[in-house]
Amino acid sequence: MLHLKDNAVSQKTVLSLNNISKYFGPLLANDAINLSLAEGEVLALLGENGAGKTTLMNILFGHYVADAGTVTAFDEELPPGKPRAAIDAGVGMVHQHFTLAENLTVLENITLGTEPLWGVRQYQSRALAKLNQLSTEFGLEVNPRALVRDLSVGEMQRVEILKALYRDARILIMDEPTAVLTPPEVDSLFATLRQLIKSGLAVIFISHKLGEVMAISDRVAVLRSGKVVLEAETQATSREALAEAMVGRKIPEPKRVPQDAGEALLSLDQVTVLGAHHKRLLDRASLTLHAGEIVGIAGVSGNGQAQLADLLSGLQTLAEGHMTLRDHGELKPNPAHMVKQGIGRIVEDRNGLGLIGDMTITENLASENYKSREFSRLGFLRFNALQRYARELIEAFDVRCPGISAQVRKLSGGNMQKLVLARVLSKEPMVILAHQPTWGLDVGATAYVHEQLLAARQRGAGILLISEDLDELLELSDRIQVIYHGQLSESLDPDNISLQELGLLMSGQQRSDSQAA
């Protein structure tokens, strides 16, 4: 067999991608990519959004057909476009968004699609035995009889891994596996991965979190614009080098300079929000946002962050408590009111809520102030003013687009977020909600968002940063409050708390010592 690249790891090569190219229209998504994977190693695949990682993995897994090149697994060429063949050859994939049927049990999910037509019961007991053996061998504990919908996110991921192992996967592809996990869950995932490679599996670990890549991988390959731009032993490289390779230039990570917080801008006082069946989605949560500070809200998704964000967006009515803005009194649950009060809102769901994909960049930039005298007169829109405004903003916020009349739907995630930032920050709001502002963004775009938020803080704005990215929270926040089951903890000092401690608080455990800031 022909190998274009010499493999540094001495063990047997289990998978090789040879000269893979793939076009989408005129766009070259994969450009003659060569990669190989050895038995018992973790290869990290790094790259920004649109670098071609997902395309490459979809080709490997048979979802796409490459325009050129071949995939070889265990010395046999995989037929293109046949996921079944990839599975049979021992390739297993754990998707970022789980592919589990929530109304079935763990065992049913794992055996789904493998069970014979007849003798299901008998098959299930054999399956159970195999599953138990796998979970003890790799420390993947999960109750086979539990319904998937009752599991935590970490457990669901274990089920996904078990599903792949159950199908005798020897090569495991993990797409952004840590995106949804808390720090302790990440630790336990890494322990599992080490177990797996010890028993001879090979893992491709797709991520854009450099810290994790450094911690778990043996080798790392960086993709940029469809090409492999760097391939190295993990130990022989550094975070900085990887980041630079990913983006193609140096990324200065913005730093938070200490500054004193000013007067109180916004306060939530004993706020309760009720969901279905009178469930307390926010439970007597209190919080004060001062001028010139960033307050970070840490928590596992689904603990009330969405309600907190909706409150500030004007989409949520509160059942008890008060939400007050300095000098303006009680805030009303009405988006137009929030806009009028000058609250800048950067929401998590930029596609569905923040922007209108089918409308143009100009129309989206004006969506919060099209009625102002600047942009309309006697019921007619002032197109010249709107277009001038849009041109200024895409220039100032460096939005890459074909033009101001382009549909927003066609922009990349990073550019969409820049558009949101442009709309929100250009009005210089004093109170800013930033809910998962860098979700799904690449390194360059993330650094840009951080820079903008810090600049807003410096000019005296108070920012409520709700994020599931703990690195981001620790880097940007002046104070952190942990949200758990709708309750907000006291303020913590990000400089005096470890990831582990934060992780424990996020999973509902109290701090044993009293070193709260």
């Binding site: 967006s313 569905g352 209108i356 409308m359």
Partner: protein, 349 residues
């Protein structure tokens, strides 16, 4: 086989798409003509001759275009806001009723005052009729497709009652029709010795006006935003419910004016056969135009050509005039496919 989005769509593609779609539709329908035992070329030649072959034919086609522009605009505006107004037919009759009420002698004003008043009254009546299902939609989440559709039948029965009962014209020799509109209330003819009336100019003006409204005004912006993504529009502060209700008034108003136009331009008195489903055809017209108000002018003309031409074709050949409905239906499907293909290209693999 896969669909890939096109990076750039040229103007040529945008225009060629619908034209080719119509050609394709006629090619498909030629199978039916062959099946009925006639010559395809002869049939289509007769169809176009019947619709456009003489001064009279053209005037008849334009007369039908006039009412379709109104009902087409009504659907185009509502659908742009994702308000699925299927009740154009009922709103049309509602408009005609309002004009009948005021125009048969109650107001004896000069034409310059009376005709606009009748249009206004018809628009209000049509708009108010659509307000009811719209409020049910915005406040109780009742599906407007069902309510607007069913309201059509209710309104038809009401008209039925009126022309057989209280509004029945004693001078009509027992025919179920209302009293005629007084002379000052009638639209002047455009062409001598034809049925073509000034309503066509009103319709064209409203098509342009609707285009301006949708494209250049705050209301148009709000309608498009609410239609494209109501959640995001609401989040940005667009008054979503108010916009939907406003859309309903405009859409229902346009459909109501279609009724007024037929009544005071063509028939002169209210009957049960004022509209052979113009309200429903308006939906097809709007879809063929891609909901563009200016496109409605062309698509309503096309539909009018097909319907008028098919009538005269079926008189000469053994092809049933139902072929008109088949051609428009197939054209609609073909245009929808062509709209997809102008945005995406097919990749075979």
């Amino acid at each position: 086989m896969r669909l890939e989005p096109r990076e750039h769509v040229s103007l040529l593609t945008l225009v060629a798409g619908p034209v080719l779609a119509v050609v394709a539709a006629m090619a498909i329908c030629s199978l039916l003509i062959v099946w009925s035992g006639s010559s395809v070329l002869e049939a289509y030649a007769l169809l176009f001759k019947g619709a456009l072959g003489s001064r009279f034919a053209i005037s008849e086609t334009l007369t039908r275009t006039t009412v379709l522009i109104f009902t087409g605009l009504a659907a185009a505006v509502a659908f742009r806001a994702k308000l699925w107004n299927i009740g154009g037919e009922g709103q049309l009759y509602m408009g005609a009723c309002a004009a009948t009420m005021l125009g048969t002698g109650l107001l004896e004003w000069s034409a310059y005052l009376l005709i606009p008043t009748l249009f206004l009254a018809g628009a209000l009546a049509g708009g108010l009729l659509l307000i009811v299902p719209t409020l049910l939609k915005t406040h109780l989440k009742v599906d407007e497709v069902v309510t607007t559709l069913l309201l059509n039948f209710i309104i038809l029965l009401v008209v039925n009652y009126l022309v057989f009962g209280p509004w029945k014209d004693p001078m009509a020799m027992g025919w179920p029709q209302a009293a005629p509109i007084i002379d000052q209330g009638l639209l002047p003819p455009l062409l001598a010795k034809t049925r073509l009336h000034a309503g066509l100019l009103v319709a064209l003006a409203f098509a342009i006006g609707t285009w301006v409204l949708m494209r250049f005004t705050v209301w148009g912006y709000e309608i498009r935003a609410v239609g494209a993504n109501p959640k995001a529009a609401g989040f940005a502060g667009v008054p979503v419910n108010r916009t939907i209700i406003r859309t309903a008034l405009i859409s229902g108003g346009l459909a109501g004016m279609a009724g007024v136009c037929e009544l005071i331009g063509l028939k002169g008195y209210l009957t049960l056969d004022l509209s052979p489903g113009f309200g429903y055809t308006g939906i097809v017209v709007a879809m063929l135009a891609g909901l563009n108000p200016l496109g409605v002018i062309f698509s309503s003309f096309f539909v009018a050509v097909v319907f008028n031409g098919a009538d005269s074709m079926s008189r000469a050949l053994s092809v049933s005039n139902y072929i008109a409905e088949v051609i428009t239906a197939v054209s609609l499907l073909a245009v929808l496919v062509s709209m997809l293909l102008t945005r995406y290209r097919i990749k075979w693999k």
